[in-house]
């Protein structure tokens, strides 16, 4: 019945769902947004793009009522609205699906959907039957199959997203904002999400799609607005854009070749030898070798076991069978301390959870693994430590006001450089990088990419787990493809194509 309401309103299917003009927002010491305009049309997908720090998050938080605005007007249906808090935004029909899913994981799907407005039965008690029935109806409308009685926390992220979207419908949302919705989805799940987005536009809902990913924009968006440094740069129909023009708008300069295809790397002795590694969790008899100066790329769909492999071969996760040798010396006992001692380290895909110490400084983050080298009899020589950290900050062009800046205040790209430096400062033979450019803006991506290329040329063995095809094809000397915990194919750099890689990944 909610959906019917939406349909009725969506009858016109044209016109502006929301008009924002001259939006401004300041934070202490920073102008986050200045004179930004954004108009969303009913029944259309509008992409919002920009590098990290461009102001996308601030803008959608203003729409969600999380932040107040310092300047500008917001009109919905010709009426100026205040959006003082999330409740008001919801009442005006604006629903934001944030990257961090805001569902209560202990509740059932149906309970989450009707969290703020449980239908109440005759005795004042909650009408569970009705809740379940209506949830099922909502899912049918967006063409998605989730059990309303399932515990939300048990669902994969992609399905939790669908629950959020269903919740938007339950709230009779007319504007749905999605913040980086595909960042943790598999290609299949992305396709499903796009199907659902199209259903939403059919219902007359305006969708604001916030993303980094160019390919997705070209696939789903009708219009694109680009922000840079808190300012509005352009709003154009997607048809007027090419990859290059979009990137140019985003970073303010031309990047002719974002991922320059590396010249290939000279190969040395075997640096890492993995034989028959299996784990209880996922891996099944994985064997491969990497030489010094070589980049071995690993591709696989979500759940193929790349991250599990990365964690197992550096000693972080236990293995059930198999051997791992770094430069001919076995990783025994199987732990990270031994791994680091032998010269193998992991640049994790989960920067916040496993990489960064958010409350500590750039210096403390960077020197962590190498601290022993700067110390005598257990005492840290902070002068040497600082010099080494400064050296890497300069070499990697880490943009930070000082070495004592808290790492959490740096951009994703700079954080990643610090974490990379953490290992290089210690001196590695093999570095395992898992999704090295995830959550990093375009400019920084190419920097990280170039850095890895340089490191391989300097003789480091690089094992790279990635789901980004251009990265994989651009940097790897060989490409291993994984599916369900096994290596299904290995291609030489020249033999690898997008098609045969994908075929091997699906097999």
């Amino acid at each position: 019945m909610h959906a019917e309401l939406v349909q009725e309103r969506g009858g016109a299917h044209t016109g502006a769902a929301i008009e924002m003009h001259g939006i401004g927002k300041r934070f202490p010491g920073v102008i986050a947004l200045e004179e930004v305009d954004l108009v969303l049309a009913r029944g259309k997908v509008h992409a919002l793009m920009g590098e990290n720090g461009a102001g996308k998050s601030t803008l959608i938080k203003i729409m969600a009522g999380v932040y107040g605005r310092d300047a500008g007007s917001i009109n919905i249906g010709g009426r100026e609205v205040a959006l003082r808090n999330p409740r008001e935004a919801l009442a005006e029909g604006i629903k934001v699906v944030f990257q961090e899913i805001a569902l209560i994981s202990e509740f059932t799907v149906a309970e989450n959907i009707f969290l703020e407005r449980h239908p109440v039965g005759r005795a004042g008690s909650i009408d569970w039957k009705k809740i379940r029935a209506e949830s099922a109806a909502l899912f049918e409308r967006i063409g998605f199959d989730v059990d309303p009685a399932a515990r939300t926390g048990d669902l994969p992220v992609s399905q939790q997203q669908m629950v959020e979207i269903a919740r938007a419908l339950a709230h009779e949302a007319r504007i749905v904002v999605m913040d980086e919705p595909t960042s943790s989805l598999t290609p299949n799940e992305v396709a499903l999400l796009f199907k659902v987005i199209r259903r939403l536009t059919d219902l007359g809902i305006a969708v604001l799609y916030v993303t980094h990913k160019l390919d997705e924009v070209f696939e789903i968006a009708d219009t694109v607005t680009v922000l840079r440094d808190g300012r509005h740069i352009s709003t154009r129909p997607i048809g007027e854009h090419t990859h290059d023009t979009l990137i140019q708008d985003m970073i303010g300069r031309r990047i002719d070749n974002l991922f320059p295809r590396s010249r290939g790397h000279a190969k040395g002795d075997i640096a890492l030898s993995v034989k028959g590694v299996s784990t209880d969790a996922k891996l099944d008899d994985v064997s491969f070798e990497v030489r010094a100066g070589e980049v071995l790329g690993f591709f696989g769909l979500m759940g193929a076991g790349r991250t599990e492999l990365a964690k197992a071969i550096v000693g972080f996760d236990p293995i059930r069978a198999g051997t791992i040798e770094v430069a001919g010396r076995p990783l025994k006992p199987h732990d990270t301390r031994t791994g680091a001692g032998l010269g193998i380290g992991l640049l994790t895909e989960d920067r916040k959870g496993e990489g960064l110490m958010l409350e500590l400084s750039v210096q403390q983050n960077m020197s962590l693994a190498a601290l022993g080298a700067f110390s005598r009899a257990g005492f840290v020589d902070e002068t040497r430590e600082k010099a080494a950290v400064q050296g890497f900050v300069d070499r990697f062009r880490v943009r930070t006001p000082s070495l004592n800046q808290l790492i959490k205040n740096l951009s994703g790209g700079n954080q990643q450089k610090v974490l990379l430096a953490r290992w290089l400062m210690r001196g590695l033979k093999v570095i395992v990088v898992d999704e090295p450019t995830r959550g990093i803006d375009v400019g920084a991506k190419s920097e990280i990419f170039a850095l890895l290329d340089r490191l391989a040329n300097e003789g480091l063995a690089v094992v790279m787990m990635t789901s980004e095809m251009p990265e994989l094809l651009g940097l790897s000397d060989r490409i291993a493809v994984m599916a369900e915990g096994r290596i299904t194919a290995v291609f030489d750099r020249d033999a690898a194509t997008q098609e045969n890689i994908l075929n091997a990944a699906i097999a």
Binding site: P28, G29, V314, F316, D335, T336, R337, G339, A340, G341, G345, L346, T348, D350, G353, E354, G355, L356, M357, L358, E359, L360, S361, Q363, Q364, L368, A369, L371, G372, S375, G378, F379, V380, E382, S402, N404, Q405, L406, R422
Partner: protein
């Protein structure tokens, strides 16, 4: 060691900067305000006898708080310190009674307290029981266990003067417990501030996974922090037993809360990765000056719980305000 302490402790030329940085300004201000206000109302506050009484009380708390600071920094906590404190005194006194040797008594006390710490550490790191729960369980076991060990206070039958000196003696003008606390403080300060061990503790507390991935033995570091805390409880327990001239099974009630309150008041984060020993020292001083002041001012002693509660909230809030101001 927050980012601030790393940077600003090395501001050249300021002696003040060596020991405290901006993050401690709030506490220093509160402490100064308290001292001034109390001494205006009761001049005896600055009498030698009273200053020594305060310092001696601070010493007991500070000795254990030094270990607790390490534990909180690496993301753990030990709630059994109060119960262990009482048990340690009984055991130490009993062993001295039987052997007539202060050394053996102290060693027995340290061995027992260290074992309690080791046990807590193993429960937390090997069995992976949350230390909040695990050490409450230890506390219960110790509180009950001490009565199995002795129904009543273990009396001083040995009359060793050196034992009495432990709590009530002086070296020069300074009470021995204060000297012991000062030594503990300096060692812990140096360990946290200048050694890899200290730096690793912060790292483990800030992100155990990141620390592990970087090749640190997170569990072993935590275990060490538990054992160190345990040993320090052993030291404090012997001092307390000496001060009371008995091993009191009922002693130490609420001691763990005083210790944790002081550490938190000092700016150490309950979630790990952040905190300084200077802050802990100031936290101990503030709490004990309040305690003392309320008696000196003849206020209702129930305020000895109320006022620290208010001060903890006030100090934490002021610190948030200060951080916000610093961020600008």
């Amino acid at each position: 060691m927050t980012s601030e302490s790393l940077s600003s402790t090395r501001k050249p030329g300021t002696a003040f900067g060596l020991f405290a940085d901006r993050s401690q300004i709030v506490l220093i201000g509160i402490l100064a305000a308290l001292c001034i206000a109390i001494s205006l109302a009761a001049p005896q506050f600055y009498s030698e006898a009273n200053v020594i009484a305060i310092l001696r009380q601070c010493a007991l708390v500070l000795i254990v708080a030094a270990g607790m600071t390490m534990l909180l920094i690496c993301g753990e906590v030990d709630l059994s310190v109060g119960a262990s404190l009482a048990f340690v005194g009984c055991i130490g006194m009993d062993v001295i009674n039987r052997t007539g040797s202060l050394t053996l008594g102290v060693l027995a006390a340290l061995a027992f307290a260290g074992t309690v710490g080791l046990f807590n550490g193993i429960v937390a790191t090997r069995l992976r029981v949350n230390s909040l729960i695990g050490t409450i369980a230890t506390m219960m076991m110790l509180q009950g266990g001490v009565f199995l060990y002795t129904r009543e206070a273990v009396q001083n039958h040995h009359h060793l003067p050196s034992f009495t000196g432990l709590g009530a003696g002086y070296i020069g003008p300074l009470p021995i417990p204060v000297i012991i606390a000062a030594i503990v403080f300096v060692v812990a300060f140096v360990a946290l501030r200048y050694t890899t061990f200290g730096r690793y503790l912060y790292a483990v507390g800030a992100s155990e996974n990141a620390a592990r991935l970087s090749g640190l033995r997170a569990e072993r570091l935590k275990l060490i922090a538990f054992v160190v805390t345990g040993l320090l409880v052993g030291v404090a327990g012997m001092i307390l037993a000496s001060l009371m001239n008995a091993g009191q099974p009922t002693a130490g009630r609420g001691f763990e809360l005083t210790v944790i309150a002081a550490v938190i008041l000092g700016g150490t984060s309950l979630s790990g990765g952040r905190g300084t020993l200077i802050g802990t020292l100031l936290g101990v001083l503030v709490l004990k000056v309040i305690d003392n002041g309320i008696i000196i001012l003849r206020w209702n002693q129930d305020l000895q719980m109320v006022v620290p509660g208010i001060v903890i909230i006030l100090a934490t809030w002021l610190d948030i305000v200060r951080r916000r101001a610093d961020a600008r």
